[in-house]
Symmetry: C2
Subunit: 149 residues, 2 copies
DNA sequence: TATATATTGATAATCATTATCATCCCCATT
DNA sequence: AATGGGGATGATAATGATTATCAATATATA
């Protein structure tokens, strides 16, 4: 119903698909590539399940992140955000955060394998990594050029 | 009094060095390489300035991070932590976080310049980056081997 | 269908952080 | 040395995100 990988994870973890959880998963799929806060998920989920409560949203997001269907992280506004884990970027999250407009871009390729290999040589077991670049994006640089010449 | 670079930053930013601020800076220097929460700073600062309050600690840490004397980040426990910015790693923070014991190691070298260069070619202005590896450290792997063989 | 178990929603509780505000301290000027 | 003013401080209230609680519901299985 949600794609082979997601369904497998749900089944492997014995996770009952209630109406509320379905709504939340649908919201996350509708927003592939975006990073939603619990509050934002609530608003959209209510369009599908009008009585859903914020507690259920938090519980569900937390659980879906625990079984790797979602990825949870925080940028610069003190609230956790969740994104759908596609099968490629799972465990490899690279975010490019604009310090001016907050837009988040993704870095597609993965040049970090060699670094991970190095750590494993040193005895670490690498489970995940997260790399954030804080930037001014081309649009914001352009805008600020216009404002203060 | 605190090293050439720190003094310059303080002076450039017209930042008055009160007893409380001195105490906090001393605490951060006493804990070079460690990542302290506001609460932890408070406890140690009170040994030097018994009446210092938590609000002052937050204000001071925030300000010292704003002028790049400290670096602020969050790991897996929902509270901000601060570390002294040494002159080499400033704007390049690489942390290796053990998922079992929470110990934080640092990755010294910087293999990310080429990635940054790539982004700059694409029109981004890279201000900072942060890379976290989530691992099981050698000690914890050893321990867990002993527990469940 | 009955019963055990999981899930939900409302709401209270928690916890880190921020805002407020009266007081204090430090420096410059008289 | 006294005075005045603006920043700094500490106590504490307020905020806001997240978590815990608990009674009510829904679901699965016997």
């Amino acid at each position: 119903m949600f794609g082979k990988n997601i369904n497998k994870k749900l089944k492997d973890n014995d996770y009952r698909l209630t109406g509320q959880r379905t709504a939340i998963l649908e919201v996350m799929m509708d927003n592939q590539g975006r990073h939603l806060s619990a509050e934002e998920v609530l608003v959209q989920a209510r369009e599908k399940q009008p009585n859903i409560g914020i507690a259920t949203v938090y519980r569900t997001l937390e659980k879906l992140a625990a079984i790797d269907i979602l990825y949870k992280s925080m940028f610069n506004d003190d609230k956790y955000r969740y994104e759908l884990n596609d099968d490629h970027n799972e465990h490899h999250h690279h975010h490019i955060v604009c310090l001016a407009c907050g837009k988040i871009a993704e870095l597609e390729d993965d040049l970090l394998c060699s670094l991970e290999g190095q750590l494993e040589t040193q005895g670490f077991e690498v489970v995940d990594h997260e790399l954030k670049f804080f930037v001014y994006c081309p649009e914001c640089r352009e805008k600020s050029k216009r404002v203060s010449p």
